[in-house]
């Protein structure tokens, strides 16, 4: 009885559709199954057993390539704006402390994150177009067959796709899953989906070490790695933590529609607004803290010029041994530490520590010998996986009504980040890369 009652809603839906089929079978004459609508026609292809997943991967790649390469000129425009503002401050503000605060702290820290507004908004626009066209539901259906074998529920796909924008609404969207075990697995794997907050880090590092021609592909690899880790983690959790049968996947597919420009732009703005709000609050606040720690003690650092004598350098050197085997230095250690607040802060921290213009930040990372293609790729993977940001942890606490699961998530993801980055470095070095 308890097993039947757990799936009652699904059983009722199944019985309802069986009765509908019986009625249709006795009253409707079909003419050999020919397609009648554009939706039927396109579903023959997009839900095809062999073509479904390749088409999905193709459209996913187009989405990321669009977000990175097409937005590049707009990134340059924003960089030039902040460079202009920085020079304006340096020429007109005489007080060195105030100059350092505005130029390095505010413009350097916050500006180095805001330059990534174009690719982030471009990503949100692409996601909105896919959703409004009706294709996203088909992608969930296509992935269900694949995801079912790997321990994930098909309905988890939509929250996970939302995770490409932000993991917070992705975790909240898991409420749509009726089965508690499926819901918990979706909540625990969602942070492995690469959100838009990580995109500035990828764009910066991939652009610097791989060049603009290959950067889009490197970023696609990281997003694909996130999806693979989601699948593996889900299998692991299904086998060890949440044993039991998965509930069947029933989803009503909407008709296809030509995406409306106004609607797509509105959806893009609604999501992008969250990023701008975060930039204006959490990222700005953390950038100021990073600046303060990097210019004090004021005398010892000669007014912020000798960053190696600052409090932040002390913190970085204390953490450096942990990351030295990966070829990362103390600045990277500090960037990762402050990245726990919000992933965009990783870029903002570099902007403050290196004290260069946003346009040359990537070149500066390579020129200072901080990253090679191998260590850069491992770093991008580490940022993908390590510790969810504070907002995600707070959401997990709320959705699970527990502190145990967020703590588990932190330990699991940190361990996984070290393992995966270590594997990348290890395999790369075996192949003769440095």
């Amino acid at each position: 009885m308890s097993e039947f009652s757990e799936d009652l809603s699904v059983v009722l839906a199944q019985k309802r559709y069986e009765r509908i089929s019986e009625i249709i079978g006795s009253t409707v004459k079909k003419d050999g199954g020919s397609v009648r609508t554009y939706t039927d026609m396109l579903d023959r292809v997009f839900l095809n057993k062999y073509l479904g997943i390749p088409i999905f991967l193709t459209l996913l790649w187009v989405m990321f390539q669009f977000s990175f390469t097409v937005s590049e000129p707009f990134v340059v425009l924003v960089e030039k704006l902040f460079e202009f503002l920085s020079h304006l401050v340096e020429q007109n503000v005489t007080d060195p402390y105030l100059t350092s605060f505005i130029s390095t702290g505010v413009i350097g820290g916050l500006g180095s994150v805001l330059v990534f507004v174009p690719p982030i908004f471009a990503l949100f626009l692409a996601l909105s177009i896919l959703e409004d066209s009706g294709y996203m539901a088909r992608a969930a259906f296509v992935m269900d067959r694949f995801m079912y074998r790997l321990g994930l529920h098909g309905r988890s796909f939509i929250p996970l796709m939302i995770g490409f924008g932000c993991n917070v609404p992705a975790i909240m969207a898991a409420r749509s899953l009726d089965n508690e075990k499926d819901r918990m697995i979706t909540i625990l794997v969602s942070p492995l989906m690469s959100c838009s907050a990580r995109l500035p880090v990828y764009v910066l590092i991939a652009g610097a070490v791989f060049g603009s021609a290959q950067a889009g592909t490197a970023i696609f690899f990281i997003y694909a790695l996130g999806i693979v880790l989601v699948v593996l983690a889900a299998q692991l959790f299904r086998k060890i933590l949440f044993k039991g049968e998965q509930s069947p996947f029933v989803l009503e597919l909407p008709t296809y529609a030509m995406p409306n420009a106004k609607s797509a732009l509105l959806h893009m703005w609604m999501r992008g607004k969250m990023f701008l709000k975060k930039a204006g609050t959490i990222i700005f606040g953390t950038a100021i803290i990073v600046w303060f720690l990097s210019v004090h003690p004021w005398e010892a650092t000669a007014g912020g010029q000798l960053i190696a004598e600052s409090y932040i350098a002390w913190m970085g050197h204390a953490l450096e041994p942990v990351f030295k085997p990966f070829g990362w230095d103390w600045m990277t250690a500090v960037a990762l530490l402050f990245g726990i607040v919000a992933k965009e802060v990783v870029v903002g921290t570099y902007g403050v520590l290196l004290g260069v213009d946003e346009g040359t930040l990537g070149d500066s990372l390579v020129a200072n010998g901080m990253f090679t293609p191998l260590t850069g790729l491992a770093f991008m993977a580490f940022v993908l996986i390590y510790v969810p940001c504070f907002a995600v942890l707070a959401t997990i606490v709320r959705e699970t009504n527990s502190l145990r699961w967020p703590a588990f998530e932190v330990i699991f993801q940190v361990a996984l980040a070290f393992l995966v980055s270590g594997l990348i470095i290890g395999v790369g070095r075996m192949m003769g890369m440095s």
Binding site: V35, R36, Y38, L51, P54, L59, T69, P73, T217, T255
Partner: protein, 141 residues
């Protein structure tokens, strides 16, 4: 039993086969032959893989088109949609490269070298639109 004229279906099927083979040959030339074509080169595996996906979509519909079945039109329509998405992306990339040149971030901009051949294949596929519209006249979403 056919949904539209088999003669028209055979013409559409032949067109789809040519388009599919063109995409596949281009992908094979870049991947196996190491040829650099426009913005595509051997190392750019995703761009090559995308060509093979489009080729597969076009070619899988050839049989149904030859029998005058709407299912064939479905593959043709889907192939065209994916080509539009991919070709449109490459056009936008060309525009972005030009903007980078205007902003002084690159030293030169050569339009012929920056155009991806997949965009030209999309242009070749566009005459299919009026034919498809005729076949699917009266169909709703």
């Amino acid at each position: 039993m056919s949904d539209f004229s088999i003669e028209l279906g055979k013409k559409l099927g032949a067109y789809a086969l040519v388009l599919g083979l063109a995409h596949a040959i281009l992908g094979a030339a870049v991947f196996l032959g190491g040829v650099e074509v426009g913005t595509m080169s051997f190392g750019d595996l995703p761009r090559v893989a995308v060509l093979f996906v489009i080729a597969a979509v076009y070619i899988m519909g050839v049989g149904s088109l030859g029998k005058g079945r709407n299912e064939g039109i479905a593959f043709l329509m889907a192939g065209l949609l994916i080509s539009v998405a991919v070709g449109g992306l490459y056009l936008l990339e060309t525009g972005a490269q030009y903007m980078m040149y205007i902003l002084g971030e690159t030293d030169e901009f050569r339009i012929l070298e920056s155009i991806n051949p997949a965009t030209l294949l999309l242009v070749l596929a566009l005459p299919l639109l009026p034919m498809m519209k005729r076949v699917t006249h009266g169909m709703v979403w």
